[in-house]
């Protein structure tokens, strides 16, 4: 079903950060992930976009080493995450969908402790600033708000200075200001050359942050590509005009060039104009809704 069979580039391109081939995960009878193929290049922000229960978290947790896969091949920074090697965990940072923290220590103490796990950690102060936690650095974590705890999640994932960062629905439950702050953090990480795998069910988040997006539903990748190009081939262009009787006509096509030619030729032959002629390019939202619609 995946129309975008990944091409493995043998040239001088550096090896991808993540390669997933024919990944399947079954829980008893239930197939959470069915034959997913994904390649995440180094330095890109890759979005897994899909409704709840699409298999996004299962996929990410297999890549993080939390779950065993049923079948398929997975490589994360050249490691099989199922081996749970410490070497791999030194190079990745994980922001879980919901992760608890010790309530009786402060963000500064937690970060100093976490930093000691890694061979080349970032400065605690720098990470506090990056996550916007300076003012709460010495407050016990149990007294932090939900948004501040989420920033601490980010900070703990970044303190080891990871190459690859997993963000599982990083802004769910955020107010708009907090979302934009989180997006800014992601952009800064990207600017540092980090690779980011992000899951989200927010279209605008995927559109804003991701270099490429895979739309996932029912454990399958339905479409994959840069958000702006994703519509091409995956959804129809919409051509609309008002005919001579004043009625609005809408036509959908995969090939707007041919349709326009046909329509304009016919109109010219009749000596008519196509009033209010417009060609609509599908947005990511159109693609998403079309692909994830039931039945």
């Amino acid at each position: 079903m995946s129309e975008t069979a990944p091409v493995i580039d043998q040239d001088s391109v550096p090896s991808p950060a993540i390669e997933v081939r024919a990944l399947c995960k079954r829980y008893g009878e239930y197939e959470a992930v069915r034959d997913i193929d994904i390649t995440v290049r180094r330095g890109e922000v890759f979005g897994l976009l899909g409704p709840n229960g699409a298999g996004k978290t299962t996929t990410v947790e297999i890549l993080e080493g939390y779950r065993a896969r049923t079948s398929g091949e997975v490589s994360v920074l050249g490691h099989d995450p199922a081996d749970r090697s410490i070497e791999l965990r030194r190079q990745i940072g994980i922001v879980l969908q919901s992760g608890g923290v010790y309530g009786h220590i402060t963000p500064r103490e937690a970060l100093a402790h976490w930093a000691s796990f890694y061979p080349h950690p970032r400065e605690v102060e720098e990470v506090l600033a990056l996550a916007g936690l300076q003012e709460k650095a010495d407050v016990r974590s149990r007294k932090l708000s939900g948004g501040q705890l989420r920033r601490l999640d980010f900070a703990l994932a970044l303190v080891g200075d990871p190459e690859l960062i997993f963000l599982d629905e990083p802004t769910t439950g955020f107010d708009p200001a907090a979302r934009h702050a989180a997006w800014e953090t992601v952009r800064r990480l990207r600017a540092l050359g980090k690779t980011i795998l992000l899951t989200t069910h927010y279209l605008d988040e995927a559109q804003t942050l991701a270099d490429r997006v895979a739309i996932v539903k029912d454990g399958r990748v339905l479409a994959i590509g840069p958000p702006r190009e994703l519509g091409v081939g995956a959804a129809h262009y919409r051509v609309a005009y008002r005919d001579s009787s004043g009625e609005l006509v809408e036509r959908e096509t995969d090939d707007p060039t041919a349709l326009l030619h046909e329509l304009t030729e016919a109109a010219l032959a009749r000596g008519e104009r196509l009033e209010e002629l417009s060609v609509g390019r599908p947005t990511l939202e159109d693609v998403y809704l079309e692909l994830t619609a039931d039945a």
Binding site: E64, G65, Y66, I86, R89, R90, I92, I94, L96, S98, G99, G100, V101, Y102, H104, I105, E109, A112, H113, W114, A115, S116, F117, Y118, P119, H120, P121, R140, L156, G160
Partner: protein, 255 residues
Amino acid sequence: MPSALSGANPVALSWRQYRLERRMFWRNPSAAFFNFLLPLLFLAGGGIILGGNQNDLNKLVPAIAGMSVMSTTFTALSYNIVFLRERGVLKRIRGTPLPTISYFSGVAANAVTNTALQIAIVVLAGRVFFGIGWPQQWGELIVFVLVGVVCFAALGVAFAHVIPNFESTAAYVNAVFLPVVFVSFFVFDSSSAPGFLRTIAEALPLTPLIEGLYAAMVTGSTLASHIDELVVIALWGVFGLYFAVRGFSWEQTRT
């Protein structure tokens, strides 16, 4: 910051984890209360009830010492593991390069420290307030406390697997802790306990532990004459360790 040791040495990481656990322990008033005030309250209460009967006091102090070993390890670890698991802290730690062995060494050392502090308090109280003197056999005392710690710590971790969510932890833990403590105290104290109750209590790890502590602290009968007790505790320890490792879950229970 000892950056030279950072991210590499599992021993250094165990030590850091241990220090963090200690800091968190002292900052949590309810944990400090349960660990230090509760045995003292039991000692004081028992002392008042038993009055000046030295024979009874001789039994009260080792019984409280045995209970202390169980509460600082079995109870404390069940609570902690369930809490950290359900809150998602364990899962987060699982995603870092912190070696599993370092994490558990730090957590276990924290529990052992609490046991040692509590035993010290009970021994001191026995000497100062209850007229039982210093322990007769220090070596025997240490052996029984150590084997007891390993046994009850392992059982605590194993028991955490059975507890489905944090809200029910108190119910689950007390459903085990209280009956075991009552049966063990009763059988240890009363020679007229029914035979079946005695059989049960002596097959459980707490009564043998209290017998061993009684020997070490009061009568002075040697370790060699209490190998049976030691074996029972050790067997429970092996059972506990097996299930502690086998059933361990780093993640929230899914419903």
